[in-house]
Amino acid sequence: MWLYLSSSVFMGWSLGANDAANVFGTAVSAQVIRWLKAAVLSAVFILAGAMLEGTKGIQTLGSLASQDTFQAFITMLAAALCVALMTTLKLPVSTSQAVVGAMIGVGLVIGEPIRWGVLRKIVICWLGTPVGAAVLAFGLYYVFSFALGRMHLNLFTYDTFVRRCLIIFGVYGAYSLGANNVANVTGVFYQTGTISMRTACLLGGCSMALGVLTFSKNVMLTVGQGVVPLEGFGALVTVVASAVTVHVYAWVGVPVSSSQAIVGAVIGVAFVKSVRLIDRRMLGRIFFGWVTTPVLTAVFAAGLMLVCRAGFGI
C-alpha cells in the first residue's frame, strides 16, 4: 500500500515545493519574511487547511471515477510525472488539471465510466478560478485603496501595514492551498478505500508541508518575484484575492490551481491601472496550459496504463 501511496506523496511534495511560492513568494523575495519562517508557517497552515477543510475536495475528486489501488497509483504517477516534466520545460501547469486528466485517461483505458456531471462542475471551476480571482482583485483594489486613502498613513505605517498583511494573507493563502489542493494529492486513493478521510487529509497535508520545508526556497526566491510583478500594494491585493478565490473553491469542494488564481488576480490589478499592462503572451500561456495539461496527462496516463496492462497483464 505504501508503495502505491508513494506516488501521492511525490505529488504532494512537488505541489508544496512549487505552490508555496504563490502564497509567500512575494513576501520572501521582498525580504519581508525570511524563507525559513515562511516555510514553517506555510507548512503548518497547509496542514491545518488540509485537516480542517480538505474533505470536500477529496470527496469531489473521488467521485469523478472509480478506480482500484493500482489504477489510482498509475493515475497519480502519470500526473506527478507530467507535472514534473512540464515544470522542467517551464510550461504552465496545474496539478488539479493534471490529476483530473490522468483520472480520465486511466478511466478511458479501463472502461470505467466518467461522471461527466462532476467533470463539468470541475471544468467550470477551473474557468472560474482566474476569472473570479481577476474580478475579486479588481474589486478589492478599489475597496482597499478607499480604506487606505482615508487612513492617511505615513510611509512607514503604510510599509508596516503592507508587510504585516503580506504575512497574514500569506498564512491565509497557505491555509487555503492546503484546504483546496490536498484533494489532488490523496483524493484518488481515498475513493479506492485504501485510506480513510482523516488519513487522506493528514498524508496529503504532510507531504505538501514536506515539499515546502525541503524544496521551496529557490522557487520562492526566484519564481516569487515573477509571479507577482507588482509594487507592494498591488502584490498584497493579488495575494488576498488569490487566497480568497482558492478558499472559496475549497468550500465548493473543487480543487483548482493556485497559480491560475494568482495570475488571474494579477490581471485584475492590471485592469485597475491600465489594460495595456496586461501581458497578452501570459494570457496565451495560461490558455495553452488549460488545454495541454489535462490532455497531455490523460494521454500519458492512458499510455502508462496500456503499457502496464500489456506488460503485467493487469
Binding site: L155, D159, R163
Partner: protein, 230 residues
C-alpha cells in the same frame, strides 16, 4: 537656528495611537536635520560674505560648518542605506526613499560647492551687486527649506505634496530669472574686468544650481507621490 524635523508630527500612528518610530524613520529625521543645519550654516556664511564682501573669520567658521554638516549628511545617508536593507522595508518604499535621499544629497553638496568656490577663488563681490546676490541666495535657501518640508510631507503621506512641488518650481523659476538678470548686468558693467565677470558668472551658476537640484528632488517626490495615490 533650525527647527528639528519629524516624520510623524506627533508621533501618532494608525487610529491615532502613539506610534513607536521605526529606526529608518529616526535616521531620516536625523539626516533631514543635518541638511537643515547645513542650509543654515550656508545661509549664515553667505549673509556674512554679502554684508562685508570679505572672507572674514565668521565666514570661514560657517564655511567649515557647512562642510561638516555636508559630510555628516553623507555619513547619515550611508547608514540609512544599509539600515533600509536590514530593516526589510518593502521594495517600493525602499526604492522611493533611496532615490529621494540620493536626489536630496545633491543639495548640501551644492551648498558646500558655493562656499568653497567663494573661498578658493577669493571672489571679490562688487558692492552694487550684493543686494541681488543676497536675494538669489535667499531664493535658493528657500527651495532647500521647502524641499526638506516636502520630504516630510511625502513621508507623512500628506495630500498637499503637489502644491509644495509647484511652489518649489515657482521659486526655482524666480531664481533662474534673477540669475539671468545678474549675468546680463555683470557682462554689461564696464567697471568689472572680464576675468571677474567670468568668475562672478560661475558663482551665479553654482549658486543657482542649488535650486535646480531642489527642483529635481521635488519632481522626484511628485513622481513617488503619484505612484502611491490609491
Amino acid at each position: 537656528m533650525c527647527e528639528c524635523v519629524s516624520v510623524c508630527g506627533g508621533p501618532m500612528g494608525l487610529f491615532n495611537r502613539p506610534r513607536k518610530k521605526n529606526e529608518v524613520e529616526v535616521l531620516i529625521e536625523g539626516y533631514l536635520n543635518t541638511v537643515t543645519l547645513c542650509c543654515d550654516s550656508f545661509h549664515h556664511s553667505m549673509q556674512e560674505y554679502f554684508s562685508t564682501g570679505l572672507l572674514t573669520d565668521e565666514f570661514m567658521r560657517y564655511e567649515r560648518q557647512t562642510h561638516q554638516f555636508e559630510s555628516e549628511g553623507d555619513d547619515r545617508r550611508h547608514a540609512l542605506e544599509e539600515m533600509m536593507y536590514e530593516k526589510g522595508l518593502i521594495p517600493q518604499s525602499r526604492g522611493d526613499i533611496m532615490a529621494l535621499l540620493e536626489a536630496m544629497d545633491h543639495v548640501p553638496d551644492q551648498m558646500e560647492a558655493v562656499v568653497q568656490t567663494i573661498y578658493t577663488e577669493a571672489i571679490q563681490l562688487p558692492a552694487n551687486y550684493r543686494e541681488r546676490f543676497t536675494k538669489l541666495t535667499a531664493l535658493n535657501v528657500e527651495t532647500v527649506q521647502k524641499s526638506v518640508a516636502l520630504f516630510l510631507l511625502f513621508l507623512r503621506g500628506e495630500r498637499n505634496v503637489r502644491e509644495s512641488v509647484r511652489h518649489i518650481d515657482q521659486v526655482e523659476s524666480q531664481s533662474d530669472r534673477l540669475e539671468r538678470e545678474l549675468v546680463y548686468g555683470i557682462f554689461r558693467d564696464p567697471q568689472i574686468r572680464d576675468v571677474e565677470k567670468l568668475i562672478l558668472r560661475n558663482l551665479i551658476v553654482v549658486l543657482g544650481r542649488i535650486s535646480d537640484e531642489a527642483e529635481d528632488f521635488a519632481e522626484l517626490v511628485g513622481v513617488c507621490a503619484v505612484k502611491r495615490l490609491f
